[in-house]
Symmetry: none
Subunit: 135 residues, 4 copies
């Protein structure tokens, strides 16, 4: 299974599922149209309540990552146009970047080192994507 839960982290279970499904879709591990486990199946698999999965899937649906069809199941959506306008999208990321910058500051990692680190992680990410594409 592509979802690994950490019950001790304090991060809400439904959010762990949301971010891991998003990461899997982003990296290419899941592709457009792919079926995802049914709510009931994933709940049983992760030993978590149905409602928790339903909530995670619901979030993912409103974010446009997947599609829930009554009676037939759950499918990954094509990563079409994001429903948010560009400026808003940047704004959302900005908040997360700010947190990273503060953290870097406290770890005494300079601006250039941070930029390098970003480049390194981007390279890594794109490499993982290409690997998926080759399969």
């Amino acid at each position: 299974m592509f979802v690994q839960l950490n019950f001790k982290s304090g991060v809400p279970v439904y959010l762990q599922i949301v971010s891991q499904v998003k990461a899997a879709a982003a990296s290419g591990a899941l592709r457009a149209g792919d079926p995802l486990p049914s709510v009931r199946a994933l709940a049983e698999d992760l030993r978590v309540n149905r409602n928790t999965i339903a909530r995670a899937y619901g979030e993912l649906e409103t974010e446009g990552v997947l599609e829930l069809r009554q009676g037939s199941g759950c499918f990954l959506k094509a990563n079409g146009a994001s429903p948010l306008r560009r400026a808003v999208r940047s704004e959302r990321l900005a908040g997360e970047l700010d947190a990273v910058i503060v953290q870097a500051h406290h770890l005494q990692i300079g601006d250039d080192a941070l930029r390098e680190l970003l480049d390194e992680r981007l390279t890594e990410f794109r490499a993982r994507q290409r690997q998926r594409d080759d399969n």
Copy 2:
């Protein structure tokens, strides 16, 4: 001040303080015996309820990161551990950067746009720092 709060992140304020103090201690930015601002001073500075600061400091005290001395204030404890090596510090940031990259992918923000955004936020951050230093 070394603490930067993000009220929109959903991360509890007191935890933001805790993790930032710990990160500063881990990197060597703060050293054993260094004084920290008093509860009331920090509360005023961050425009936050004193309870919130007290809770953060309490957490840090039970974790052995700092020491509250009645009447004289709050000091970083010697913890024996040497400051983290550079590679280890980078590793800590890598996970957060990876999350940002995934998010950027879903928001359809390209690599270059992400780098630009980082530059922009860094500039902003440095400007805010200078402003504080002037006060």
Copy 3:
């Protein structure tokens, strides 16, 4: 109370709450910054489970209509910039308009009559708004 539930309509209770709060905010019955009843209070008032209210409020928060603050309550947000880009906003309305058009077609209401009806309802809506503003 500004919410009236119809349990026999088949429309989900949480959606009834969502749309009625939105309507109240749109018409000016509720204003930016106004506090809304707490989750518990509204649940008791409407004789509905806390979770149902929490879900409705959650939807309203993600839509940017209100703001939930841990420990302090629930407040109406300023109807600031919608987070959606204009084209997308139109698209959302288009779906609802299409349904109206089909319905008009079946009721044998011509295009001009439909336009007139829209004008009439718009006038009515603006009149209600002005009335609120005067109070």
Copy 4:
């Protein structure tokens, strides 16, 4: 065909069919004795499962709106009620239009933009109709 489905609305497909047939009958667009398409023809036309059509027709039959005659097809029943007066028909639409107006307000779409959008959707609707008529 007189039925237009909206798969994104969340309204069950079979209910969309039911309400549209009922509206057509109420307005006089369909008259007693008029034949309706067979289950399989309509299913193919709307690209929907035959069960869905069967269910809609079943619902309409139990409500006495139509009559299924084994082997010969499906016909609108005489229901004695005279077609609704014009004013009543407008009234039915008014509620839906009001919802659209509220939604437009929240999406910050002005009155004129809304009127334009209606014109656009009407044009689109008429074009689709002509296309169907040509087939």
